[in-house]
């Protein structure tokens, strides 16, 4: 973990017959990354491209089968991978099997659709017959009363049923019956009116049949009957109906014929219903049988595709009997690789065992950091910024501690930390159940569960130090400040003092007001009720941020020394590391010294010098005679330190003469200015912790205080409701939002301010052929 593993390039020679089993064994091992030996060839020119295409075709068919199973709601059983190798012959059999399955399923679907269409038509006819019965009855009644000579009855009087009316005269009445979608009906009616101007009668009724649509959305349909005279008109109307996609059905004239038709239609509907049901059952049977083994097939095909893809990367020699491959693998795992190959060749029954040949190379090996389930999350967040160079110092072991700690400095609240820890513990315990969930948010939560656990634990610790739990302080040991002794007889206060002033200051010079020994762990609880709490806490948190920041950066600089020693870059030690260290120590190390010294020394607060002003004056070499110094000889020490720091600058510039002088100048300026800006950047530790504390206090004051202060009557019920809102807002705002914010800023401090002291991060990650990770990723 300290630095990436030593890798070696190994040449493998194995027989063509044992290729499949050997690569399969290497895939199960998951420790070999195959190098591409044919980088020039395009994808379609490679040797095994046909096999890869066949595997992809099989994947497509399997996906189609899975979609069909999902559509018919058939559960797919999850299958544990058995680890058996598939030889090409088995693959052919599998291919035949699933092709047959696909054809069968396609045929079933086709038949089913045709039957369904037929069924729909029959249903429409039956509803049409039912509706048109009313029309014809109405027409008959109108016919009997049509002797009335009225204006509009001129057209109505021409309604006559063909069979009973004499076919005398040119007026032959016919009718057209059909079914049209309800939303198209008004337009249909309008078109007919425009064309035929009352020379027709149109009757329509909504079809109430709810049996029709089961899978699709309910489409409302109307049944209509048009009575017209003349064949030409009928032809025109038929064309219009086609245009409006109304389905026309032959409807007999006589009542008895209609009744007969209804009977036959009814019988056919029942038959079709049964056939449809049988078809669906058959389809379900076929799919269920396939569902038991589909996961197994999918895994097999994926593995075979990966093996063929890997074979495409290898070289086949002239005799077609030998395959040459080059793999990167960790030096410490060479034995396991060899054992895997021997096992593979034994499985395929070949006599010759594969040969391993370690070769030296100029290529940069990939970076491989061995991680376990705990360190994996931290390695991921370090790699997200950049994978470390080969054999460079790995920042992950330190990130495991410093990242949650910097998060906790910004989050610092016991109560919120406790909630975070409990959440992390729950995710860790439920990890198996949650890892089946596909939602991306849950996946991220599960992968980072140990990070969240550490963040929560560290937050409880910093919450105890800040003495902050949902914005209230605990008084575990008893406060070191005592207000009682400010009153007479020991102190200056009396009752009038209380009534006359709004704010009073505790004076530690009065005996026994301050007990002499500070509060044992953390900030004294008396600060929670002091009105100048923020002035004290701000000063404390700012100084603490600077101390933490400079220490973090100094640690980063020492890691660069480790890198220089490992890569035997002694020139850089002298010309880069030492000037950087001296520059940072003499300026910012001295700043830390001033801060700690001022804390330890006893001063009167009215006359204490401000550290910031002292620092600025030191850099500007401006010393006044009225300055107060913290210690004697301060002026001399400060002048020496600044001069020393300034002297380091030309040393950094000097590192190499010549054409890369410009690069050196940039580096020098970047480092010197960067020191100041990076130190200031660490002040975000103060800023975020202040924001969190203030938000927490505002939430308590606005919400919970209102509930607590209400005592009369049902105060308890109101308090219960208020606590519910308080809990929800705490989780939503203070834990989720502030937590994400602190996470992001702590990450940025690591990635930029810490890692730019030593990290190159330009490597590429070791991606071995591994079936476990292949089968876990979904297509």
């Amino acid at each position: 973990m300290f630095r990436s593993e030593e890798m070696c390039l190994v040449q493998l020679f194995f027989q063509t017959e044992s290729a499949h089993t050997c690569i399969h064994q290497l895939g199960l091992l998951g420790l070999a990354q195959f190098r591409d030996l044919n980088p020039g060839t395009a994808a379609f020119q490679r040797k095994f491209v046909k096999e890869v295409k066949r595997c992809e075709e099989m994947e497509r068919i399997l996906r189609f089968l899975e979609a069909e199973m999902a559509r018919c709601a058939i559960p797919v059983s999850a299958v544990v991978d058995s680890g058996g190798v598939t030889c090409p012959r088995e693959l052919l059999e599998l291919e035949c099997k699933i092709r047959k399955l696909e054809e069968e399923l396609k045929e079933i679907n086709c038949n089913h659709d045709a039957l369904k269409r037929n069924f729909t038509e029959l249903l429409e006819i039956s509803s049409l017959l039912k509706a048109s019965r009313d029309f014809f009855e109405e027409a008959e009644s109108q016919l009997s009363s049509s002797e009335l000579p009225s204006e509009d009855s001129v057209s109505i009087a021409t309604i006559r049923r063909n069979s009973s009316a004499s076919t005398s005269g040119p007026q032959k009445l016919g009718f057209i019956a059909g079914v049209i979608k309800q939303d198209r009906f008004p337009a249909f009616e309008k078109v007919l009116w425009r064309l035929f101007h009352e020379n027709f009668i149109l009757r329509h009724a909504e079809i109430q049949d709810t049996e029709q649509q089961t899978e699709n959305t309910m489409v409302k349909k109307d049944a209509f009957v048009i009575f017209v005279q003349g064949d030409q008109v009928q032809g025109k109307i038929k064309k219009i109906c086609d245009g409006f996609r109304a389905s026309l059905y032959p409807c007999p004239n006589t009542l008895s014929a209609r009744e007969q038709m209804r009977m036959s239609v009814h019988i056919r509907i029942e038959d079709l219903r049964m056939i449809l049901r049988r078809t669906e059952e058959f389809r379900a049977t076929v799919l269920t049988k396939a569902a038991t083994s589909i996961q197994h097939w999918v895994n097999k095909v994926k593995k075979m595709k990966a093996i063929y893809y890997t074979l495409n990367l290898c070289n086949i020699d002239i005799t077609q009997k030998l395959i040459v491959a080059e793999i990167w693998c960790p030096v410490s795992d060479l034995n396991s690789v060899q054992n895997a190959l021997i096992k593979g060749s034994e499985q395929s029954g070949s006599s010759v065992s594969p040969i391993l040949n370690r070769i030296h190379t100029q290529h940069t090996p990939p970076t491989f950091n061995r991680t376990n389930v705990f360190t994996k999350g931290f390695q991921t967040i370090v790699d997200a910024y950049g994978v470390s160079n080969y054999r460079e110092v790995n920042p992950t072991p330190y990130t495991i501690i410093t990242f949650p700690f910097l998060f906790a400095v910004m989050f610092g609240d016991c109560g919120h930390g406790l909630v975070l820890t409990l959440l992390a513990v729950w995710v860790i315990v439920q990890q198996k159940k949650l890892s089946c969930c596909r939602s991306e948010f849950v996946v991220v939560l599960v992968e980072g569960r140990f990070i969240i656990l550490l963040m929560g634990l560290f937050s409880i610790y910093t919450g105890l130090i800040y003495n902050d739990c949902f914005s209230k302080s605990f008084s575990i040991y008893g406060s070191s400040w005592s207000v009682r002794h400010m009153f007479q007889p020991s102190g200056p206060w009396s009752n009038e003092t209380l009534h006359s002033s709004g704010h009073l200051t505790l004076d530690p010079a009065v005996p026994r007001v301050y007990s002499g020994s500070p509060y044992m762990l953390g900030i004294d609880p008396v600060w929670n009720i002091a009105s100048n709490k923020l002035s004290f806490l701000n000063s404390y948190k700012m100084k603490m941020s600077v101390i933490l920041g400079v220490s973090h950066m100094l640690f980063g600089t020492t890691l660069s020394l480790v890198n220089y020693i490992h890569f035997r870059n002694f020139q850089n030690i002298l010309l880069r590391f030492i000037p950087e260290l001296v520059f940072m120590l003499s300026l910012f190390g001295y700043l830390i010294f001033l801060i700690v010294f001022k804390w330890c020394v006893q001063l009167r607060s009215e006359t204490a010098p401000s550290i910031l002003l002292m620092f600025i004056n030191m850099m500007l070499f401006s010393y006044q005679s009225s300055d107060v110094f913290l210690y004697s000889e301060q002026k001399a020490v400060q002048t020496f330190l600044v001069l020393q720091a300034l002297l380091m600058v030309p040393v950094m510039l000097l590192e190499s003469m010549g054409d890369i002088f410009a690069y050196q100048a940039i580096y020098t300026i970047e480092h010197c200015l960067g020191c100041i800006s990076n130190t200031a950047s660490y002040l975000r530790l103060w800023a975020l912790s202040l924001a969190h504390a203030e938000l927490s206090e505002v939430l308590w004051r606005m919400l919970l205080r209102g509930g607590l202060r209400c005592t009369p009557g049902l105060g308890a019920v109101l308090l219960a409701l208020v606590l519910c809102c308080f809990a929800l807002l705490t989780v939503a705002v203070l834990i989720v939002m502030e937590g994400l914010s602190a996470f992001l800023h702590a990450l940025r401090l690591h990635w930029v301010e810490f890692q730019n002291k030593f990290y190159q991060g330009a490597g590429f990650k070791f991606t071995p052929l591994s079936f476990t990770s292949l089968l876990k990723t979904q297509p």
């Binding site: 949902f470 202060r709 005592t711 219960a720 606590l723 519910c724």
Partner: protein, 99 residues
């Protein structure tokens, strides 16, 4: 009898978590109010004349009152927790019966 189930599994689980939080937090608040902690002075609804008394018996009485309120609210949350637990059990039973 009609189904007693009125919330789904997720709502019932949230209810349990919320009531555990409520019980613990309100119980601790009640204890701290009854022991008259100084940090909670702003949360007690005292008025100007209550302070002028010496010894401040009114303020102590108010502290106790708020403390009792907290305990009653904690008891309410015990009830809410019990209801949520029932809902979780009923949900599990229904899930078991359907499959």
């Amino acid at each position: 009898m009609p189904s007693l189930l009125f919330c789904g599994p997720k709502l019932a689980a949230c209810g349990i978590v919320l009531s555990v939080w409520g019980v613990i937090m309100l119980a601790m608040l009640g204890i701290f109010f009854c022991s008259k902690s100084a940090v909670l002075i702003e949360d007690v609804p005292f008025t100007e004349e209550d302070i002028r008394n010496d010894p401040p018996q009114n303020v102590y009485a108010l502290y106790n009152q708020v403390g009792i309120n907290c305990f009653i609210a904690a008891a309410i949350y015990v009830g809410v927790g019990a209801v949520s637990l029932c809902q979780v059990r009923l949900n599990k039973r229904q899930e078991y019966m359907v499959t």
